[in-house]
């Protein structure tokens, strides 16, 4: 997927419901209640936090281009996808990202595998002294332990890893571009990987798009690594997945809920605003559908809100709130989050 396609894909989902900046916060992985609840509302888990380095300038430029090409339009500070935009949406391609699950940790996996391949390649050529591409001490230690545990001096490890990589790259969702980028970023004996710029030039693409496709490759590989089919790489992917994808602050709030405190009490204890704690509740519900919300909203209220949202064909809080004045914004958000989670 290219950057423009990603933007259109997201805008298609939030069309008429959010501003043109919402995708930016989503891609950057902003940890605000709004962004996190949008992930669940609009089923945008794939894209959360995939481009933490994205600059606002680059983003605005891309949005302007979509605007100029009439793929999107903006009305009363809401962004809409146009007919023309829907037409060029990639129909056959699903995004291969899983930003919600990896949150940048895929880079850790990449650094490990990069250093493993470099080391194995050098050792196989009997060149035991070389300068590692990865300078991070903790990566070096991890890889050293991995190699020792896997008896790397025996040839088996090379063969196994190569086969596992082949297997993962042959994944039919990949294009040859995914495969090529992954392999050509790697280095080994007398073979140095290529820079983003060198790859971008070869393919006449932007650096950003090259990095996006590379990321897609990493996420998809990680999704498909299992202890049965790729036992060696499975060990390299240790601790990459985020099991509790809560922000640290929401995690603390969650522990207090577990101890039976109310929203108000938690706000007092943590010296935070009620709003913030409510954001945390949304985040917790997004992640855990078993979290009981009966203290905040009744079953009937949830149904009423979901029914209205369906009828009005909107997830805009203000529209729903106008029709149900006795219900709070927080309750509307809660119902929508819960509704999405159960659907």
């Amino acid at each position: 997927m290219h950057f423009h396609q990603i933007l259109l894909f997201i805008i298609h989902k939030i069309s008429g419901q959010r501003s043109e900046n919402a995708p930016y916060y989503l891609l950057k992985g902003k940890k605000s209640g709004q962004t996190i609840q949008d992930v669940t509302y609009f089923q945008l888990h794939a894209f959360f936090s995939i481009l933490p380095q994205l600059s606002k300038e680059d983003y605005d430029e891309a949005i302007n281009e979509l605007f100029k090409n009439e793929f999107i339009r903006v009305n009363e500070s809401l962004v809409y996808i146009t007919e023309k935009g829907i037409e060029i949406l990639p129909s056959d391609k699903e995004p291969l990202f899983n930003g919600w699950k990896y949150r940048g940790k895929e880079q850790l996996f990449w650094k490990r595998i990069d250093l493993v391949i470099q080391t194995l390649s050098q050792f196989q050529a009997n060149e035991k002294k070389f300068v590692p591409n990865q300078k991070d001490i903790s990566i070096q230690h991890f890889v050293k332990d991995f190699l020792i545990q896997n008896n790397f001096r025996e040839f088996n490890l090379n063969t196994d890893i190569k086969q596992e990589i082949f297997y993962l790259l042959e994944n039919p969702s990949f294009d040859d571009l995914h495969r090529t980028l992954f392999v050509y970023r790697l280095s080994g004996y007398k073979t140095t990987g290529l820079t983003w710029e060198q790859l971008a030039r070869h393919y006449h693409m932007t650096d950003l798009n090259i990095k996006i496709i590379f990321l897609e490759c990493l996420h998809s590989m990680l999704d498909n690594i299992s202890i049965e089919t790729s036992p060696r790489l499975f060990n390299l992917a240790k601790d990459i997945r985020i099991d509790t994808p809560l922000t640290e602050s929401a995690f603390k709030t969650n522990s207090l809920f577990e101890k039976g405190y109310s929203i108000e009490e938690i706000a007092k204890i943590r010296k935070l605003k009620i709003n913030t704690i409510e954001d945390h509740v949304i985040e917790i519900v997004s992640n855990n559908k078993n979290f009981s919300i009966s203290a905040f909203i009744s079953k009937e209220q949830i149904e009423e809100i979901l029914h209205l949202s369906n009828e009005l064909e909107t997830k805009k809080l203000t529209l729903i709130k106008q029709r149900l004045p006795e219900i709070s914004f927080f309750q509307v958000r809660l119902a929508l989050t819960k509704g999405e989670k159960n659907s």
Binding site: I117, L120, S121, Q124, K129, F130, V131, P132, N133, K135, D136, I137, S138, H141, N158, T159, I161, K162, I165, F166, L169, D176, R179, T180, F182, V183, Y184, L186, S187, G188, Y189, K190, T191, T192, G193, L194, T195, W196, E197, Q198, H202
Partner: protein
């Protein structure tokens, strides 16, 4: 000290048959417990000086190095020699690793660290428990405010050395005027140190100065030179944009070339370095960010498209050529208006009187300054009052201007450039090499080989083949 023993270690640990000029003398002085100041050009085996004595002495060697990128490289080089008891303790070391290291300092034979880190109380407590063989002040010219890359934090090493019980110090640098040497000795509290000053001359490097009319002519000259003669080479320029422009221009002519500057991602910078070292690239177009920690013996050409901001910096960049001792050439292109441009570049991060005034205000926030500037100001704020600091910076600025002017003069007058460069460091030329400089008459075509390479083409990419090359079956 037993000479046999020294030679044995030289062979066994370092794989060399013989010492180079001065190395043995310096090493003997260190082992004898003397303070030493050693000035020798890059590529003359500087690291051996602090590495070898360690194997003949009890305790740990502490190497203080102000350049983090260099530190990483030095650690890697020691590891390549098979030394495992080596660590770099700096702000990049993850917290847990750092804690671990503090508890086991004595397990290390070589500890590299930065001047900033020496302020860390926990580190210092651990160091005081340690038996220290000697302290090395690397890139010692950074201690001097007159040096071309002054690091104010480095000055704090003075108090730190004082806090240690009688410890010997080895100061190493590749460039120092007598003024700078004086500063080094004072700051490091050296008593009657043994001084070793190697000639900074690199006879295998010929100097070529070319005056052109304008920027376009520079481009044409570079293009002509690179197309017709052989590298490998580095083209130094002052702006990041220009590194990219040059690289594109040369690539269009079928040259295997890449650009390099500090704004690139670290992973990409490492890859470019490796590609150049392994001969997959012939030319690099770079800002002065490139070159530290490059281990490539056969660089044949260094081209500057500008007047560098200091003689010392120029010598360092040029000194990356001809490490293998074979003939190389350093070419400098300039126009008559370049001297102003260079002064402008040199003053870019230099605090103005107003900046200094602000720095002395109560509600001053360091964010408003470039990082190096704010560090320098933060240091002087503790030492001097506002007026004194303003005066000091006026002096430094003036000195900078004089330096650039005198470099410009060296380039333009009729005297031998080699002699003048050495003279700048208070050294005399001992023997004029056959290929000296363009002012002593230079036959460039007899130095450079004609380029025979076929045009460089990027091969088709095939991921299966590539994976099989990385991990052959």
């Amino acid at each position: 000290m037993n000479k046999l023993k020294l030679n044995e270690i030289l062979q066994k640990k370092f794989g060399h048959e013989n010492f180079r000029d001065g190395q043995q003398e310096i090493i003997e002085q260190i082992i004898a417990g003397k303070d030493v100041v050693a000035i020798l050009p890059t590529g003359m085996g500087k690291s051996l000086l602090y590495q070898l004595p360690a194997y003949l002495m009890e305790g740990t060697v502490i190497i203080v190095s102000p350049l983090l990128s260099l530190m990483q490289d030095q650690v890697e080089q020691l590891k390549l020699l098979g030394e495992k008891r080596v660590i770099a303790i700096n702000s990049f070391l993850p917290f847990q690793e750092r804690e671990m290291a503090f508890r086991h300092l004595a397990d290390f034979k070589f500890i590299f660290t930065s001047p900033e880190m020496l302020q860390n109380e926990q580190f210092n407590r651990a160091l005081r428990e340690l038996s220290i063989a000697y302290v090395v002040a690397d890139e010692a010219h950074c201690i001097s405010q007159w040096g071309f890359d002054f690091r104010p934090d480095y000055l704090r090493i003075s108090g730190w050395i004082h806090s240690l019980k009688a410890v010997n110090v080895l100061a190493l640098t590749a460039t120092a005027t007598s003024e700078v040497v004086k500063d080094i000795k004072g700051t490091l509290r050296m008593t009657k140190p043994f001084e070793y000053i190697h000639s900074l001359d690199r006879p295998a490097i010929a100097y070529e100065i070319v005056e052109v009319e304008n920027q376009q002519e520079k481009m044409n000259w570079i293009l002509g030179r690179v197309i017709s003669t052989e590298g490998p080479g580095i083209i130094y320029t002052q702006s990041r944009k220009k590194t990219e422009v040059y690289a594109t221009m040369l690539r269009e002519q079928g040259i295997s070339v890449a650009y390099y500057h500090a704004k690139m991602e670290q992973s990409d910078r490492i890859l470019i370095q490796q590609q150049f070292q392994q001969g997959q690239l012939d030319w690099i177009c770079a800002t002065n960010a490139f070159g530290m920690g490059i281990h490539k013996d056969n660089i044949r050409q260094i081209i500057h498209d500008h007047i560098p901001t200091s003689v010392a910096g120029y010598m360092q960049e040029v000194g990356r050529a001809a490490r293998d001792g074979n003939q190389a050439i350093a070419s400098l292109l300039y126009t008559s208006s370049d001297v102003e441009q260079t002064f402008y570049v040199a003053m870019q991060d230099f605090p103005e009187e107003q900046d200094i005034h602000f720095a002395y205000q109560e509600e001053y926030s360091e964010v408003e300054q470039a990082e190096t500037t704010s560090r320098i100001l933060a240091y002087w704020k503790e030492q001097l009052n506002e007026q004194q600091t303003i005066q000091l910076f006026k002096q430094i600025k003036q000195k900078k201007w004089q330096d650039i002017q005198s470099f410009y003069l060296m380039i333009r007058n009729d005297s031998c450039l080699r002699e003048q460069l050495l003279h700048y460091f208070d050294q005399a030329l001992i023997e004029r090499p056959h290929h000296c400089c363009s002012k002593c008459k230079l036959n460039v075509s007899s130095i450079l080989r004609k380029r025979t390479d076929e045009k460089y083409r990027q091969d088709e990419m095939n991921w299966i083949d590539r994976l099989n090359i990385l991990l052959p079956s």
